[in-house]
């Protein structure tokens, strides 16, 4: 097995230590930045939904602020954002390189994207459902969690899937400017040292990872459309 691997991708085997640590770094960036993105993007997406004109907590100031910030950061290409944020990153985490240094720009890059996705998902919740909940005496928090977020689950899962895949893309880009991970492994060891097998394996790893996320997302979205993931039976004696 080892011999066979060494024969088809000799350089990957030679640099296997570096390869695994790169995969690990990418995984770390993905999970940590993804976690922050999930939290902040959800909050901002909900904020946009409830504060917009006609929303349940209409507030032009909050809406205008979140909306403008989202637009600004969405319109900056990520490679530029990476270098633009270096001073801020240093201030927040003390360094602008390595996994730690990559988290800040990754979050800034992914949050606006996810925010818009969440906003779109919540916009798909029929206004009548919100109205019905209000008519039943449900409060604002109740409406956000029990109507908006609850009914939008399949769309939110699709949003998470798309954002996760785009975040993987961002982590490899961050790798190009010193963040480590599969992106930098492919460039520094594959491209720069002319080891095509390393580039190929990096592509393969990313392909498998993206496919897994997409497959999982599709399946979960399908299983939550017009039903909850697990059908809870109210016992009928």
């Amino acid at each position: 097995m080892a011999e066979w691997l060494a024969s088809i991708m000799p350089n990957v085997v030679d640099y296997s230590g570096k390869f695994w640590s790169s995969c690990l770094a990418t995984g770390q960036m993905f999970l940590i930045a993804g976690g922050f993105t999930l939290v902040f993007g959800s909050i901002f997406g909900v904020l946009l939904t409830v504060t917009k004109k006609g929303g349940i907590m209409e507030n032009a100031l909050v809406y205008g602020l979140v909306n403008t910030l989202t637009n600004v950061f969405r319109s900056i290409p990520f490679v530029i954002l990476l270098i633009f944020l270096i001073p801020l990153t240093r201030m927040i985490v003390g360094t602008a390189i390595g996994v730690k240094g990559a988290i800040v720009p990754l979050v800034f890059g992914a949050v606006p994207f996810f925010t818009r996705q969440v906003e779109a998902a919540l916009a798909n919740v029929a206004p009548g459902k919100v109205e019905a909940a209000a008519a039943m005496g449900s409060g604002k928090v109740g409406i956000i969690f029990r109507v908006y977020l609850h009914e939008a689950v399949p769309d939110l899962i699709r949003a998470v899937t798309i954002t996760a895949i785009s975040l993987i893309g961002l982590t490899t880009m961050a790798g190009a400017v010193g963040a480590g991970g599969i992106g930098s492994f492919a460039i520094n060891y594959g491209q720069n040292l002319h080891h095509q097998d390393i580039v190929n394996v990096c592509v393969l790893v990313l392909l498998v990872f993206v496919s897994l996320i997409q497959g999982l997302g599709n399946s979960l979205a399908r299983r939550t459309t017009n039903r909850s993931l697990f059908r809870r039976k109210a016992e009928t004696k």
Binding site: A126, A132, G137, E151, R227, R232
Partner: protein, 359 residues
Amino acid sequence: MIELEALNKSFGAKDSAVRAVDHVSLQVNEGDIYGIVGYSGAGKSTLVRCINLLELPDSGTIRVAGFGAVSFENGRAFFQNDSGAREALTEKRLKLLRRDMGMIFQHFNLLDRSTVFDNIAYPLKHSGMGKAQIRARVLELLELVDLREKINAYPSELSGGQKQRVAIARALANNPRILLSDEATSALDPDATESILHLLKELNRKLNLTIVLITHEMAVVKAICSKVAVMENGRVVEQGEVYKVFSEPQATITRKFVDSSSGLGRINKLIDEHANVISGGGTLIRLTYNKDCVGDALISEVSRRYGVNMNILLGSLEILQGSPLGGLIVLVEGEMDARREAIRYLCEKNVIVEVIEHG
């Protein structure tokens, strides 16, 4: 039970504002099934949403028995309880008012990702009830709307009529005394419409539930309402007992509604299309019989007594609130004087006569 006084609600900028509700006052008594009819855009949806304050009126007062009064001045809301103390309307008070009024909608508005059980339990959760209590209440409600076997179904597995039953059960979960119905049968087929109307009537009787029902179909009003208000351009143009409004409609729009539901309106269409209904001469009249004279054989009596031919073109008879109401479109042929005498005689007999066209 509910008293609306001088309600106003406008939408849009000041100079181009649309008056959706224009100085509306009406009173709904306990146990009434109160219909509000009008074409789309007449303001009836906005009006019904003003009752449970989903829309906040610009001015006016809403009184709900046992709750108090909410009045609006310059866009501010005040609450006044029965003892007269006045304060700003709080969010908490608003929720209490809404829990005392159930509401059902044209498109049901159920949560698609929740089972029937969870949909009905929605307003019960976080209300201090225990799990066992909630389950008992949901089962009771399912029994009430006759949908026990669908407890674990999702809305996508139900028919329109069943969805509306779930919505009704959900609206009644907190034992409200008032049910607001916003075109609740407009998206249903005729069978489901009938069964939902039947259910509403039964709930009205069983629970002494006061129902305010808005619709654009006069047939719905005819089927279950005891009182009706007709709306046009944000104003209530006519209101009263259903029988009275149907037998003696005053406003033009009310006539149109009444005609469309009885089928007698077709005569206007015939005349508009210049069908030769009175080509041979004669007077085209419309007779409306109320409960006092439906039983009399007036047509043949008039015909014999004055020597005129009474040619019946269209006729309808319906039972409204247990009383018959009849309508006929008749072509009276004969001498001019005889025709006049015949019509005068009919008027004397309490038949409402309208001359549609002289030939």
